[in-house]
């Protein structure tokens, strides 16, 4: 009997397959389906502070635009009892989800202000979430802002949130740090119970017909796994906190690679957006089949087995790897 359990954020999960933040978790029905299909935990879609503010401003604008200007139409909308602006509906969904499923429910925040991160983290805790994941994006466009200052923003933020909540805290970051390993260590020390590697930025595209910059979200593909495997493999054993690998996980092979690189859990979004929530059942059976064939007893047994520390050639994760890739191309004659 293969032991599929894993430890993540101080919780024993039934397997290392976690549904990561996506629009699918906006509906309770989907969260139920995720549990039924075999996910061991679900990270809720992100609560975007900026979005909440925009919606508040939009509502305010709509309620005030043209109001108290003309005697016949002093306003244009009925005064309804309550509006669910702000995080109310999100928190309500967390409440419902924690009641509806047995697997852990992890709230996710994308804040815009220092106060906002802490406020929403506390709200998510109060709503009954089992953990909080901070989904941190920061595009450092200000040329006067140094890398050190950017890093300090992350560290302060994690420390501040950690101070204010008692449930576990995961921190989801991008790979674009000059000193990723050092940064991971800082976040670990600042109080992160897990690092989630890595989030993805929406990369804008240029539309040549309309001459507009257009937002573009392309679902992740398996090749995105590489950068994540590398950093999980490098960081494995260097941190106190857990590591989750997210991005590019589509198949059972991807999951095995992630665990072997050192991830405690793997997270999946694009594959289930593309193939449906039921896709996870294929992944699970693929995992078990592979482990049975190879006679692995547990995920713990394989975890980190191909980390930088564990492989025969640790440089493979460093520059040599880069050279090797380049040299694999044959020159065109």
């Amino acid at each position: 009997m293969i032991d599929q359990t894993t430890q993540y954020l101080g919780m024993k999960l039934k397997n290392p397959l976690v549904a990561s933040a996506s629009p699918l978790s906006e509906k309770l029905e989907n969260i139920r389906k995720m549990e039924d299909a075999g996910f061991s935990a679900v990270v809720m879609h992100s609560l975007f502070e900026e979005q909440i503010e925009i919606e508040s401003h939009d509502l305010n604008m709509a309620m005030t635009e043209g109001a108290e200007s003309f005697a016949e139409s002093l306003d244009y909308f009925p005064q309804l009892g309550e509006y669910k602006v702000g995080p109310d509906s999100y928190l309500e969904l967390i409440r419902q989800a924690t009641e509806a499923v047995d697997i852990p429910v992890i709230g996710s925040i994308n804040g815009a202000t220092p106060g906002g991160w802490v406020k929403f983290a506390k709200m998510i805790e109060q709503a009954g979430a089992d953990a909080v994941e901070l989904n941190i994006y920061h595009i450092a466009t200000n040329p006067k802002q140094t890398a050190q200052e950017v890093e300090q923003i992350y560290v302060d933020l994690v420390g501040e949130v950690k101070k204010n909540i008692s449930i576990p805290l995961a921190v989801k970051i991008g790979p674009y740090f000059s000193a990723m390993a050092n940064m991971a260590g800082k976040l670990d020390k600042a109080g992160a119970d897990a690092l989630v590697l890595f989030n993805r930025f929406y990369q804008p595209d240029l539309d040549l017909e309309s001459l507009e910059v257009v937002p573009d979200l392309i679902l992740s593909s398996p090749h995105r796994l590489r950068v994540r495997l590398r950093w999980v493999a490098i960081l494995y054993g260097q941190l106190q906190c857990n590591m989750a690998l997210t991005g590019g996980v589509h198949s059972s092979e991807d999951v095995l690679k992630a665990i072997m690189a050192g991830a405690d859990v793997t997270m999946m979004t694009s594959a289930i957006l593309k193939n449906g929530i039921g896709h996870i059942e294929n992944v699970r059976s693929g995992l078990l089949r592979w482990m049975e064939e190879k006679e692995y007893e547990s995920f713990n047994q394989m975890r980190g087995s191909m980390s930088q520390k564990a492989v025969a050639n640790p440089q493979a994760f460093e520059r040599a790897n880069y050279l090797k890739v380049l040299s694999s191309y044959k020159p065109v004659v």
Partner: protein, 1186 residues
């Protein structure tokens, strides 16, 4: 325990009406709409009545429908009510007769409003109520907000006991919209006043098959008369019962009322009698006069019908010798106005019965029509008149009648303002939130201090850039001042730009405080003030404070909404509350007002409050006037005489001072006057880049205010052009030797940015810039004014030489609708402008009441205008409900006169010549060229007949212009076409006559504030549909198509401008009835109107608004008349709908309901599309046989 609340009379009356009713029927009409809105909102929220059940609220298609429904509700045994005013009340009259004839208890709550005569007015007088005095209803008048609350209950109780229905009224706006502190009745009070046994008796009288009776029989001469007299005993007892109800009410609440309440000296000889809000001013004046030793009195009429003569004379002082009866209505041709006639009758009859010892001299006066100010000075002038040996009878007061000399003179300086009352005036913009903040201030003062408080708000007649003036009073005693503040001890000007437009310190009292939002600091502001302000600041010894509120608000993230900043300063300076306490209360009010909109909004306002006081500075007043800045003249010096003499004073706010002799006698005004009112309301205006422009004309087409225009002309004309005037070679194949200019009217543009949004031409080196880009107006104003003036003088392109079907060419057609007062970014006016470009010089418009009649015809200036030949649209607004019929009447008159003129042409062929006669009679006027030729023929006829004195020639000279084809248009909104006017519209469609009907479909009653119409889509929230519209949008296009001989078009200029133009041309060309349904984005949809064009596109893409043309002409060619001109829905309905608050707010308030309704709305769109597609794919005639 009763709470003190600060509310307006609409809320105060509706609070009671809702709680003592089971069924409520509603329809919007200003100023009563808020009562229906409150009822609908309460019902949607599940607020219960005093019987513990939630009343049913039903919106109807008209006031006639609402009263019919109430009649049915009452016959069904339910306690029922409705709310209305003005023409709405007039529409209820037939049912009111029925309800009274059947002795049915109910109360209609009415905000008394002017009935339209020579003009429409939304403001208050008693002409509507007086038009109902013959219906057999009790008429009970409330004079104040408290009374509107109390009398709503007293009337309800009395109606149940008397079985006489009651019309409870209070003055529109002056009372309905006055915010005042009142003691609120609680449920126990209401239960104590309403007798359950009487309610039970009412229910027992209901129509029921379990105890069947018949009512509404037809009666014959033998018994009708007697039967009509059978109700007398009920009316005989009614007044006494009302008095008893008042006494019972006094026992419960301590507030005493009588049928007639006398105020003043016990031994007064001169007495004024009146009712309504003016009675409070008269009361205040009598108190002041008596205190000064003048023995006068006044009688408040509470119960006007039934008019109890015995109670009336009993209430008069025994010493009375002279009575002035003041009516707030006019009955031309009558021996006197209604209240006067009742008083004369009462005194005469009571004299005969001995109840009155001597007949007093009774004179009549009119006052306060259409909310005309009624002040203590006017009241005093009435007493002064009474004291004359030969007092003027049938006088007017409050105006100068220099024609029939009816008016009394009065001393405007006379004042009874109590010095213990703080009187504050605030000038602001609608968009800066001034009124909202002042309403909060009044609530704070009223509910958090022992002060009595009153707020009254005066609004603009324009919807874009509207100016507001808030009048706030508070003090230790009840406030009876139902007139505007003319001696303010606090004046705040929230917009620096007002200083150059009008005298903001006109009403500042000596020693008053002046608070100014100024971009200039305390040390530099003095030099920026106009001379007239400096003079007053010094002479009136004003204290002067400034704050850069715009800066403070912007730093707090509030943009131009400076309301909370200025509110904080007001509290800080006025000292009405200790500073810290005031700030805490302001923050509480902010939380209450904005809390539901999210923390971001609350915090933003808190930040503004917190930083306000640090930026508030007192200005040290110099000893001498130094300014040479003068107020800007209201109109330019080159304006026509009428505009200078009549329009300009109105623009300058001096309309009250204009005498009768200045007024047109029949409501006829010249068109084309908006161009003289330079409003300068845009912060930014579009600036043209000729190098990028492709001259497509889209910007000109979408401009709601005709403030951006194109022209093509000979380059030689540029020799006199101003220095900064721009031009570029014209991109027309047939006009390659000409140049093109796109010019903005800098002082008329509203800065809505629709033109920039639609511009498809982007700068190749910097794609963020287009062929037009918004830039600050102020630095550009002077140069662009010169450019605009030069542009207007350029000759226009010959209409016969361009293709009217192309967007590019349409920009060269002169708009004959310009600079209206519509909202910035309005979605309606581009259609109206387009129709005037295409047909304006031969167009007659019948306009339904609504937004389009307000921006189309509200004084002081109106936007329909004339071309260089003096031709342009002729316009009239009849009513809300009858526009199609009214316009048909115009069509029939034109058709008949055309026919008659043709007959006369034939009869006069000897004089005109056979060739001309034949040409006139056989003229093809289907093209611009054909019309131009016919005009030339008409000119020839006129020339030939000049001086001919024969009867036929004289008549033909009158009618000759009718020989030129006229374009007759009925224009209105969806409230008219789908609801109140549908019956008439349907009849006109069925008539086969050549009437063009343009429905500007905003999918709500926009003008009255966004109430649901049958055009409102499913899932949208609107007033009267607070829970989201449950039924699908009515498909008016399908209904019209069912006739087969009606041209039907559905257009959305933001989605397909060329299609819109094509549809208008086809509709007008069609010789039968045509109906164009035009999608109009609207402020009531709840999104930034900058995105209006995008939303139109999305509406079409989602299948919500399929573009169609149904042209019966095609049937003659054996083709399918139905053409589906937009593509299959390509986006979900949600992607269109959830950009708009009207849909989104339901998702926020009731997500489950929203999801269900959204799903159904999606199905509606799919079904509609499939249906249209099937119709468009059907084979017809030859197609079918092939």
């Amino acid at each position: 325990m009763r709470s003190k609340v600060t509310v307006d009379a609409n809320e105060a009356a509706a609070f009671v009406a809702y709680r003592v009713s089971e069924c409520i029927s509603i329809y919007p009409i200003t100023p009563s709409s808020p009562m229906g809105e409150s009822s609908d909102e309460w019902s949607a929220r599940g607020v219960k009545n005093i019987y513990g059940t939630v009343p049913l609220v039903m919106e109807m298609q008209s006031e006639a429908g609402a009263s019919g429904t109430v009649h049915g509700m009452l016959q069904g045994g339910a306690l029922s009510t409705t709310f209305t005013a003005s023409q709405g009340l007039l529409l209820m009259i037939p049912n009111m007769y029925k309800i009274a004839g059947e002795l049915t208890p109910t109360v209609f709550h009415v905000t008394a409003r002017t009935v339209a005569t020579h003009a429409l007015s939304i403001f208050g007088d008693h002409s509507d109520v007086m038009a109902c005095r013959q219906c057999g209803w009790g008429l009970i008048a409330s004079n104040s907000v408290q009374e509107s609350h109390d009398f709503a209950l007293i009337a309800s109780a009395a109606s149940l006991e008397t079985r006489v229905p009651f019309l409870h009224f209070f003055d529109g706006f002056r009372t309905s919209h006055e915010v005042s502190k009142i003691e609120q009745l609680n449920e126990d009070d209401m239960r104590a006043m309403i007798d359950d046994n009487l309610v039970s008796e009412h229910r027992v009288r209901a129509l029921s098959p379990d105890a069947p009776v018949i009512r509404g029989t037809a009666q014959n001469p033998d018994v009708f008369f007697q039967a009509r007299e059978a109700c007398n005993s009920y009316y005989d007892k009614a007044a006494d019962i009302v008095q008893e109800s008042m006494e019972q009410f006094a026992k419960i609440t301590g507030r005493e009322y009588n049928l007639f309440d006398y105020v003043g000296a016990e031994d007064a000889e001169n007495v004024i009698v009146l009712m309504g809000s003016g009675a409070e001013t008269a009361h205040e004046t009598v108190d002041a006069l008596c205190a000064a030793g003048v023995k006068v009195g006044m009688l408040k009429v509470r119960l006007y019908r039934p008019f109890s003569m015995k109670h009336f004379v009993a209430a008069l002082p025994k010493t009375v010798k002279r009575i002035a009866v003041l009516d707030r209505t006019k009955e031309p041709g009558a021996g006197g106005e209604p209240l006067y006639l009742d008083v004369v009758t009462a005194c005469n009859e009571m004299l005969g019965e001995g109840a009155l010892k001597a007949m007093p001299q009774i004179i009549a006066g009119r006052y306060g029509l259409s909310s005309k100010e009624f002040t203590p000075a006017m009241v005093k002038s009435v007493y002064d008149n009474l004291a004359q040996s030969k007092p003027k009878n049938h006088f007017t007061v409050g105006i100068e009648d220099d024609v029939t000399m009816t008016s009394l003179t009065f001393d405007p300086a006379y004042s009874t303002e109590n010095e213990k009352v703080t009187r504050a005036l605030f000038y602001g913009l609608g968009s800066d939130g001034t009124v909202g903040a002042n309403k909060n201030s009044i609530k704070i003062i009223g509910e958090e201090t022992d002060n009595f408080a009153q707020g009254y708000f005066v609004y603009d007649s324009k919807k874009a850039g509207s100016v507001t003036c808030s009048h706030l009073r508070f003090g230790p005693k009840p406030i009876r001042s139902t007139y505007l503040i003319s001696r303010a001890n606090f004046v705040a000007c929230h917009q620096f730009s007002f200083l150059e437009k009008f005298n903001v310190l006109k009403c500042a009292d000596e020693g008053a405080t002046f608070l100014l939002n100024s971009p200039f600091g305390a040390d530099e502001v003095w030099d920026q003030l106009p001379r007239i302000l400096q003079e007053q600041i010094i002479s009136k010894k004003l204290k002067f404070w400034v704050i850069d509120a715009v800066n403070v608000a912007q730093n707090a993230g509030m943009g131009g909404r400076i309301n909370t900043v200025m509110q904080t300063c007001f509290f800080a300076i006025s000292g009405v509350l200790p500073k810290d306490e005031a700030i805490a209360k302001i923050k509480e009010a902010i939380k209450k007002t904005y809390g539901k909109r999210g923390d971001a909004i609350v915090n933003m306002n808190y930040a503004a409050v917190d930083s306000a006081l640090a930026n508030l500075h007192e200005v040290k007043i110099p000893a001498a006037v130094t300014s040479t800045i003068e107020l800007a003249p209201p109109v330019p010096a080159y304006s026509p005489e009428f505009v200078k003499n009549i329009t300009a004073p109105m623009i300058a706010g001096e309309g009250d001072d204009m005498p009768v002799s200045k007024m047109p006698v029949d409501g006829t005004y010249p068109t084309g006057t908006t161009k003289y009112e330079k409003r300068n309301i845009a912060i930014t205006i579009p600036v043209w880049d000729p190098d990028v422009c492709i001259q497509c004309g889209k910007c000109v087409l979408v401009c709601p205010h005709a403030a951006i225009r194109g022209n093509v002309y000979a380059p030689s004309l540029l020799s006199d052009a101003p220095e900064t005037f721009k031009s570029t070679p014209a991109k027309w194949p047939n006009m390659k030797d000409k140049v093109f200019t796109l010019q903005v009217a800098p002082e008329d543009c509203t800065g809505c940015e629709l033109c920039v949004q639609v511009c498809p031409a982007k700068n190749k080196s910097e794609v963020g810039r287009k062929a037009i880009n918004m830039e600050l107006q102020r630095p550009l104003r002077e140069a662009e004014v010169k450019n605009w003036d030069f542009f207007l003088k350029l000759p226009r392109v010959d209409r016969t030489q361009i293709a009217h079907s192309r967007v590019k060419d349409v920009q060269l057609l002169e708009p004959l609708f310009e600079f209206s007062g519509a909202c910035a970014g309005c979605g309606e006016t581009p259609y109206v402008k387009l129709v005037t470009q295409l047909f304006g010089d031969r167009m007659v418009i019948g306009n339904a009441t609504g937004c389009s009649s307000i921006y189309g015809g509200n004084l002081p200036t109106t936007p329909y205008t004339k071309n260089a030949d003096g031709r342009g649209p002729a316009w009239n607004n009849s009513l809300f409900e009858d526009t199609a019929e009214f316009t048909l009447g115009i069509r029939l008159a034109i058709d008949k006169q055309n026919e008659y003129a043709l007959e006369l042409v034939q009869r006069l062929s000897g004089k005109l010549g056979d060739e001309l006669v034949a040409a006139v009679r056989n003229a093809d006027q289907n093209t611009e060229a054909g019309i131009a030729e016919q005009r030339e023929r008409v000119a020839a006829i006129k020339a030939k007949l000049q001086g001919d004195d024969s009867p036929d020639a004289r008549v033909l000279l009158d009618l000759a212009d009718k020989l030129v084809r006229k374009s007759v248009w009925a224009i209105g909104g969806d409230g008219w076409a789908y609801d109140i006017g549908y019956g008439g519209l349907d009849h006109v469609l069925a008539s086969g006559k050549n009437v063009n009907i343009l429905v500007l479909d905003t999918e709500v009653y926009s003008n009255t504030g966004g109430q649901m119409s049958k055009a409102t889509p499913r899932a949208a929230v609107a007033k009267f549909a607070a829970g989201g519209k449950q039924a699908p949008k009515k498909d008016l296009a399908m209904l019209a198509m069912s006739y087969g001989n009606v041209y039907v078009g559905r257009v959305a200029f933001g989605a397909n401008d060329a299609h819109a133009i094509k549809t208008f041309l086809e509709a007008e060309a069609y010789s039968g009835p045509s109906l164009i349904l035009a999608y109009a984005h609207c402020i009531a949809h709840g999104f930034s109107l900058q995105n209006g064009l995008t939303q139109q596109q999305l509406a079409v893409q989602a299948g919500h608004w399929p573009l169609i043309r149904y042209n019966p002409e095609l049937l003659k060619e054996g083709k399918n008349p139905m053409q589906l001109d937009s593509k299959e829905p390509s986006i979900p309905f949600k992607d269109y709908a959830y950009n708009e608050t009207r849909y989104k707010m339901l998702a926020r308030s009731n997500p489950q309901a929203a999801e269900l309704l959204l799903k159904e709305a999606q199905e509606d769109a799919q079904k509609r599309w499939m249906h249209y597609e099937n119709l468009a794919n059907m084979s017809f005639g030859d197609e079918a046989s092939n």
